[in-house]
């Protein structure tokens, strides 16, 4: 689950990590009032969307950037007007962009240097790791590819956190003035504690700023949470902004389905994540484009399968649907009954190709054949892919 920058900063502030004062605004007047209330000579007005690259991103049809500095309340109002309810396109939003519904007005600070810092779970190390670099404000992936020696990585135990020698190592390699080392020790350790205590899966501070008075400040904050740990963080779950999420994905999650929308024309309904991904690959291999990833899981019932079809059909790009089920625990008869039921209640407007294999496959096929629903049956994966691609282009 993702949250906005201003929400991440509230969480960091509460965890004792230095961030600048700021206020969220939902109208231009609120932005002007926020500027006045903050009382600093310069403020940054920052679009709040669940995507990065805002500083370089532009509002569709204008020169308005996603982050701009304001020197007066009128400035703040003008920038907020340019952003609010407009569509911001950044390198991470894709060409369709994302609508800005709120801005964050944040006080300025005297910047000495910009650094990079992030915490994530490293699979190879099997533990969380703090990554830092002197190359702040830049695309860290590019830094990692071109100058890997500039990337520092310190793994740490979730309960013990970073050791003092690790923060000294970081401070030294980041060329922080020795007077700032104690402060840096506190900063990095609190950041790691926040990551662990909040069950984050990513905490990225880019840029991390060294101010002219020798302190570290999180100038930006991007935070993603481990969905599997949300059960023990009701307060974080409450920060969810559904307006930022793909509506069909939210709807699928509510039904216990795993769905990701894509740009193609062939809807896919599959059991199991690996098989669902493979089915998308298979469609592509045979000249089609998948419209979605959809895993109905191992124990889906008629209601879930019906909802899955509704979600797939709500995508107007879908020209044909491929159902690929390998019955294990899930019986083919369950899916067949669900298909028949769904065809009655949902009504298929596009061709449906069904490939069943595994537990109770013969009975499942019989149910489909006797139901009278217009289903194209397929034998094997390749046959199914060819048939659905042909049907989508007919």
């Amino acid at each position: 689950m993702k949250i906005h920058e201003y929400q991440a900063k509230d969480l960091l502030r509460a965890a004792g990590v230095p961030v600048l004062a700021g206020k969220v605004a939902r109208t231009p007047d609120e932005a002007a009032a926020a500027f006045t209330a903050l009382g600093t000579p310069v403020c940054a007005v920052k679009a709040q969307i669940h995507a990065g690259g805002r500083g370089k991103g532009k509002v569709k049809g204008s020169e308005q950037r996603g982050v701009e500095l304001a020197k007066t309340a009128d400035d703040a109002k003008r920038i907020a007007t340019g952003l609010l309810n407009n569509t911001l396109v950044t390198i991470q939003t894709g060409p369709e962009g994302q609508v800005v519904r709120q801005v964050f007005v944040e006080s300025g600070c005297a910047i000495d240097r910009e650094l990079y810092c992030a915490i994530l779970v490293d699979r190879a190390a099997g533990s969380p790791v703090l990554i830092a670099s002197t190359a702040g404000g830049m695309d860290i992936e590019e830094v990692a590819a071109k100058t890997p020696e500039l990337i520092l990585a310190e793994p740490f135990d979730p309960d013990r956190g970073l050791a003092p020698y690790q923060t000294r190592l970081l401070a030294s390699k980041l060329n922080l003035p020795t007077a700032a080392w104690r402060h840096a020790d506190t900063f990095f350790r609190k950041l790691c504690q926040a990551f662990v205590n909040l069950d984050a899966s990513l905490l990225e501070i880019n840029p991390l700023v060294l101010t002219k008075d020798g302190t570290l400040v999180a100038l930006d904050a991007k935070m993603t949470f481990d969905d599997n740990a949300l059960f023990r963080h009701k307060d974080i779950t409450a920060l969810r902004d559904e307006a930022e999420e793909e509506p069909a994905e939210t709807r699928a999650a509510a039904a216990g389905l795993s769905y990701v929308k894509l740009d193609g024309t062939i809807g896919c309904l599959v059991n199991g994540a690996g098989l669902a991904m493979s089915t998308m690959d298979l469609v592509k291999l045979h000249g089609g484009e998948p419209a979605n990833f959809l895993d109905v899981g191992g124990g889906a019932d008629v209601n879930q399968v019906t909802e899955a079809f509704r979600i797939i059909l709500s995508d107007k790009n879908v020209k044909a649907i491929l159902v690929n089920i390998f019955g294990g625990i899930m019986r083919c008869t369950t899916i067949a009954n669900a298909l028949v039921e769904a065809s009655k209640t949902v009504g298929f407007t596009v061709p449906l190709v069904v490939r069943l294999e595994g537990t109770e496959v013969e009975q499942g096929k019989k149910i489909l054949a006797e139901s009278g629903t217009s289903i194209i049956t397929a034998d094997g994966l390749t046959d199914a892919a060819k048939k659905v691609v042909a049907a989508s282009k007919a």
Binding site: Q92, V121, R123, A124, G126, S127, P128, I140, E141, A144, A145, D157, P158, D159, V196, D199, S201, L202, D226, D227, N228, A229, F231, R232, S258, V260, L262, V270, N271, G272, A273, G274, L275, A276, M277, S278, T279, M280, D281, L282, V283, K284, L285, P290, F293, D295, G298, F326, G327, G328, I329, E357, G358, T359, G380, L381, T382, A385
Partner: protein
Amino acid sequence: MSILVNRDTRVICQGITGKVGEFHTRGCLDYGTRMVGGVTPGKGGETVADLPVFNTVAEARDATGCNATMIFVPPPFAADAILEAVAAGIELVVAITEGIPVLDMARVLPVVKDSGSRLIGPNCPGVITPAECKIGIMPGYIHTPGHVGVMSRSGTLTYEAVWQLTQLGHGQSTCVGLGGDPLVGSSFIDILELFQNDPDTHAILMMGEIGGSAEEEAAEYVKHHVTKPVAAFIAGRTAPPGKRMGHAGAIISGGKGTAEAKLEALRDAGIEIAESPADMGAALVRAIERRT
């Protein structure tokens, strides 16, 4: 021969009194697995499927001599269940549970590493040695005894591959589901080592997916340490970056973990690639033929 489990493996189920735990305990019994008991705290003394239920794993071990456990404990308590099994000295811990917080696993893995136990999963279908022992949720009947070692990060994709192998007349020595989470107890490398050393395994089929670098590491290992024919399939060539594809671990982030990078590493190690999921069994046959 086989790896990890055989007809002598004595298995308990942690979470046996739950609906899912009971269902799959019965499934394993039907397959012929030597299920010897179960554990649910507070329900010691009851029976499920005619098996004794114990309050703790230590009691279950003392009473039954079990050396393997199958875990169906709900996510909030599953990490603790793994630690309990490890503390009780259970040799093989198979965690089926999906949805364990990743930091819980970061706490568990160092403990497992320093113990004599081996952890498979979590978020996996389990382990099966056909006709001998099934620990997990896979449909038993698609498997046939034979000499192909199968390992995968995904459940149904493994069933698909096993089905193809069986239809091509290639039985399996042992099939291992590694799990779809970012942090799992056993990697491709751990299982490759076991298959390489198992005289009854003659060839290896692996199914990977996007996210992380386990496949790249496996490729490097195969290049230097595996002499048996290996074939591989990678799921998720069409997956967009930054999106979690069902499995918590199946995500391309920061340009890392793409199918292309994995395929390149596997090819470079001389591994036969299945271009299509319909081609997994055939790729294994090609890998064997290339050597003969």
